[in-house]
């Protein structure tokens, strides 16, 4: 097909033609095109449908501010909706489709909304979808959901890889237009470490789109030379395709680098990199964004920003139309006409508001045909270049609550006095709207920054260029009764803004939310100032009095995938494996995540039909002979120092100072508010040496709190802490044959009950000299020990223990069997230590010593936490032994009909099937629980539709006197 709009190669590469398709039509462009420039070259003007009214829309801008030309790129899982065609780099084989229409792009049935426009004005959601209530779920919500959003997701996992990276520099230069290049050259020549980042794939900014000269050569050639000089400097990192999207505290910036978006295939390389850039100073050279003028029917395909028309014709060699009219309130309009004429494009008319002429209407449904002025002129035009002036890109200056200030002479907001620390602004972003000024400001800002950091600025003079004419007379809106668009992306018209004002939504933040002005992917880059001007007009205020909305990062869209980086799927967080993990895998373990640990949950044997079979076998065999469980995941803290005992006395609620060497004690830890935090055992290995265990879940917080107590509360105690959770592999060996088994692996230690009784501990060796620690503690209620060896011997230890246990038919058991046995013994665990329970509720009230100062001891004495009618931890059994109990069930009296807040007596926290008792058992909190032994209650569980009769029993379901563990 012919491409009549392609005038010349511009800065594209004729030698590298690229084939692509749009809505199934095959088209051709060149290397260096964007999708937008290539579509325009192929005469494709209708590109999208608008959000609300489904009006035909075309390309409006030539950059990241694009509100209209949003398309879907690629297909299958790689489908990417809502991509701006103006920044999508063309590649061979690119597959692009339009979005947000039902039926074809040309005949969108949703365009009926355009006829309903009188009913769809600002706030119509709030006004329309109110009554009747019953309509909401059945009618309104499905309709709104179907209409919401623009593109559609592929709903498949993202096949691409995203990375995170960290960079450091003396000076970050944001933008590589004239000001940015000038700044980067100055700082680079001064030998500072510089990062210069630009969102475009071709550095140079407006130099590529205008016909200016710098140092007597074309501006784009000067930009290419400057970039080459920067690339040759070791101290400068040059980043194209990189959008700096946020200015964070202390000189930290967020940037998104698009690394393979311009390639047909990423080849497995990261598609995008989210950079965190640490800078000592920064220069913002982000340029300015042109804004339109609002007039009737100003949204037709072909109506475009004047600067974009120059960008397409000068940079890409593509004219957006064959008959171009110009509508302007400033000198840019004349420049557009001159540039187009020089390229041989017919300019059919110039409408300049400074001469009191303005456009009152346009015609052309799917592409512009004519424009009509107040002077009665009817101008034939298939493209209208509009310029309402330029708005400096101040976004990054405002990310730390800075507010921009208004300058009448350029009719624009410029960066205010409260810049993020370390930031300077140069060029158009600072309101320096001419080329020579931009080059000078960039150099001056960089020189000031590097001098401040102790570098000697380069003496090289500023590049030579002219100051072009820049005269503007503010003109915002052609008044009239037809719809005049302000925000193209959200279909917000001038009338919506007047209506918002009439209905009282006058503050700019209200205006934004009521009309949706300035929301979505373009964040109102072309619309916001125009919207403010109209609000100012409606309220009789000035624009600076009206103010701006708060700018928040990101100022340009960043994919969620880039924020996630590599942290997805299995890599969402790190995995910790126990020392016996490989052995457990070999032996049929199913694993469960406990925090980031993977623990064996049970060991499946051939022929076992479900997990209960495995767990029942493990419990039964442990209680009958001996079982082994990896308990490495419990937190371990080494506590050493002359004041270690005194320190532990303060950390635990119960006393520890008197614990003899060679003994272990159960300890209860409170928070300072008196609520239970954690429990565990602590062994005294020497006068000045203790080894503490914590629960798996609280290992980090207990250690943190202990360091707080050590450094902030009792800074002069001689005590030191080391987390040794990862240093020791630890195994519980439990059951009547535990002693006999251990005697086979422990060297030279008398394990007899007299020499090594319940709650004894010792340092010893195993297997002929391997260092170990042995603790006689029991979570299962059996005769039990925990044996610890340095973690590197953990795998060998489990194999040695299993080999030694063969004659006793030893079983490994997992966390489920561990849980069953602790419920049988009535030990509290995470379900009971849930951050809301007191020592009294757990039946441990007497453990809290009143004779010493421990964390939480004072506040644990508050009367409300010690009421007699409070909850108490008790045991439960089903009245009918065939009933299975459920955790989460609530208790009510047997004759209570209505379960509610008043009849609620407490809840079931933990349940298990006890193979020894042959029925379900539970633990739970019950009001006045200690006084209700033997009572029968309803365990009411509406979530699972269950209502079970239960009997209140002691928490110790098995061996209440503890004879087994002492034996």
């Amino acid at each position: 097909m012919t491409r009549p709009n392609r005038l010349n190669p511009g800065l594209t590469d004729r030698a590298r033609p690229l084939n692509f398709s749009f809505n199934g039509r095959n088209m051709m462009g060149y290397q260096g095109d964007t999708l937008a420039s290539a579509l325009l070259a192929n005469g494709q003007r209708l590109i999208a449908r608008s959000f609300k009214y489904h009006r035909p829309r075309g390309v409006f801008s030539a950059g990241s501010e694009e509100p209209n030309a949003l398309v879907q790129l690629r297909r299958g899982a790689a489908l990417e909706p809502n991509t701006r065609a103006t920044v999508a780099e063309l590649f061979d084989g690119l597959h692009a489709t339009s979005q947000n229409h039902r039926g074809s792009l040309e005949f969108d049935i949703m365009a009926v909304n355009d006829l309903l426009a009188p009913f769809l004005s600002a706030g119509f959601y709030y006004k329309t979808f109110m009554w009747p209530k019953a309509f909401w779920e059945k009618l309104y919500e499905p309709v709104i959901r179907a209409s919401a959003g623009l593109g559609r997701l592929s709903l498949q996992p993202d096949p691409d890889v995203y990375d995170h990276g960290y960079l450091h520099c003396d000076l970050l230069v944001i933008g590589a237009g004239p000001a940015g290049l000038s700044a980067a050259l100055a700082a680079g020549r001064a030998k500072a470490r510089v990062i210069v980042a630009d969102e475009d794939f071709r550095p140079g900014g407006r130099l590529n789109s205008e016909t200016y000269e710098v140092d007597a050569i074309p501006g784009h050639d000067w930009a290419a030379r400057a970039w080459a000089e920067l690339l040759a400097m070791d101290n400068v990192r040059c980043m194209t395709r990189t959008s700096v999207f946020g200015a964070f505290d202390h000189g930290i910036f967020g940037a998104l680098e698009r690394r393979t978006d311009h390639l047909a295939n990423s080849g497995g390389k990261p598609r995008q990199v989210l950079w965190r850039i640490y800078s000592r100073r920064s220069v913002l050279c982000a340029g300015a964004t042109e804004r339109p003028i609002a007039f009737a029917n100003n949204d037709r395909p072909g109506v475009m920003l004047a600067g974009a028309v120059r960008a397409y014709s000068n940079r890409f060699g593509v004219t957006p139309g064959q008959r171009v009219a110009v509508f302007t309130n400033n000198d840019d309009g004349r420049r557009t006409a001159a540039d187009l004429s020089a390229l041989g494009v017919a300019v059919t008319g110039i409408v300049d508001t400074r001469l009191d002429e303005f456009i009152v209407d346009t015609t052309g449904r799917k592409e512009l045909k004519t424009v009509l002025t107040n002077a009665g002129r009817r101008i034939e035009a298939d493209c209208l270049a509009v310029s309402g002036g330029w708005s400096p890109n101040v976004h990054l200056t405002c990310h730390q609550r800075g507010r921009p200030t208004w300058r009448d002479d350029i009719a624009a907001f410029v960066p205010g006095p409260d810049l993020p620390p370390g930031m300077a602004v140069a060029g158009a972003a600072n309101g320096a709207m001419t080329l020579a000024a931009a080059l000078a400001e960039g150099r001056a800002a960089a020189n000031a920054a590097v001098r401040d950091l102790g570098f000697a600025p380069s003496r090289k003079p500023v590049p030579r260029a002219e100051d072009e004419a820049f005269d503007i007379k503010p003109f915002w809106h052609v008044k009239g009764h037809k719809r005049a668009w302000v925000d193209l992306q959200n279909d917000v018209t001038a009338k919506d803004i007047r209506q918002s004002h009439l209905e009282g939504f006058r503050a700019v933040e209200h205006l934004k939310r009521y009309t949706t002005l300035g929301m979505a992917t373009d964040q109102g880059k072309t619309a916001n100032v125009l919207g403010l001007a109209l609000m100012a007009e409606a309220s009789g205020k000035t624009i600076p009095e009206t103010g701006t909305t708060i700018f928040r990062p990101p100022c340009t869209p960043v994919p969620i995938g880039a924020f996630a980086g590599r942290a997805r799927g299995r890599d969402f967080r790190p995995v910790r494996r126990t020392p016996s993990h490989a052995w457990a895998q070999e032996n049929g373990a199913d694993f469960v995540e406990t925090g980031i640990w993977l623990r064996a949950q049970w060991f499946r044997h051939p022929g076992e039909k479900g997990w209960r079979d495995s767990v029942d076998r493990e419990v039964t065999q442990t209680r009958r002979s001996v079982g082994i469980c990896d308990v490495t995941t419990l937190g371990k803290i080494d506590v050493q120092g002359r004041d270690a005992a005194e320190f532990l006395n303060k950390i635990y609620a119960n006393a520890f100072a008197g614990l003899p060497v060679g003994k272990v004690r159960y300890g209860l830890m409170l928070r300072e508010d008196g609520i239970c935090h954690d429990d565990g055992t602590t062994a005294r290995l020497g006068e000045t040496h203790f080894v503490m265990t914590t629960t798996t879940a609280n290992a980090a917080t207990v250690f943190r709190n202990m360091e707080f107590a050590r450094q902030c509360l009792w800074p002069d105690l001689d005590v030191h802490l080391i987390s040794t959770t990862d240093a020791w592999a630890q195994f519980a060996v439990a059951g009547p044959n535990a002693r006999a088994l251990l005697a086979k692996v422990v060297d030279d230690l008398d394990l007899s009950n007299a020499a090594f009784p319940f709650m004894a501990c010792a340092e010893c060796t195993v297997c002929g000299g391997t260092p170990a620690r042995l603790f006689r503690i029991s979570f299962s209620g059996e005769l039990a020990y925990e044996i610890a060896v340095p973690a590197r011997y953990g795998d060998a230890m489990i194999r040695a223990l299993m080999a030694a246990g063969k004659e006793f038919a030893v079983v490994p058991y997992g966390t489920e069997a561990l849980g069953v046995m602790r419920i049988e013994k009535g030990h509290a665990a995470g379900n009971e230590l849930n951050g809301q329970t007191t020592a009294a509720q757990l039946g441990l009230g007497r453990m809290v010593s009143k004779k010493k100062d421990g964390i939480g001891s004072t506040l644990s004495e508050r009367p409300e936490m010690n009421r007699d009618d409070d909850l108490r931890l008790v045991g439960f059994q089903p009245v009918d032994p065939s009933d299975a109990l459920n955790a989460g069930a609530h208790f009510i009296e047997i004759n209570d009909e209505t379960p509610d807040m008043h009849s609620d007596l407490g809840w079931m926290t933990s349940v298990a099937h006890s193979p020894e008792l042959g029925h379900s058992i539970g633990l739970g909190f019950l009001k006045r629980g200690a006084d209700r032994m033997g009572d029968i209650l309803r365990a009411y569980d509406p979530v699972r539709g269950k209502d079970t009769r239960v009997r209140v029993v002691a928490t110790h379901h098995i061996d209440p006197e503890g004879e087994r563990q002492r034996g």
Binding site: D249, Y278, Q400, E672, E707, Q711, P715, D853
Partner: protein, 95 residues
């Protein structure tokens, strides 16, 4: 944010865990007449400062130092960073 650790130099705030008001160093005397009231105030009554505030930060992914960081809660400007142990001693928590 960047916290200038007195021993380790500038470190990213992501390495730290935030606790709150440095007044938590001033733990009351458990044997005082009004210990219950004092602990109640210590635990629950905090100033919500708009401006400069001394805060406790813990270098959990670092050297495990507790630090007192004086930070402006409006601007995030940090004016001083000290080891909490030194601050605690200065406030009389030593032996």
């Amino acid at each position: 944010m960047i916290i200038d650790h007195p021993l380790l130099g500038p470190r990213d705030a992501a390495e730290f865990v935030y606790k709150g008001d440095a007044a938590l160093i001033d733990r009351p005397d458990w044997q005082a007449e009004d210990a219950a009231d004092k602990f109640h105030e210590y635990m629950y009554l905090r100033d919500n400062v708009a401006g400069e505030m001394a805060e406790l930060w813990y270098h959990e992914h670092g050297d495990r130092s507790w630090l007192v960081v004086t930070r402006n809660t409006l601007t995030h400007k940090i004016t001083s960073v000290e080891l909490a142990r030194d601050v605690a001693r200065r406030r009389g928590r030593g032996k």
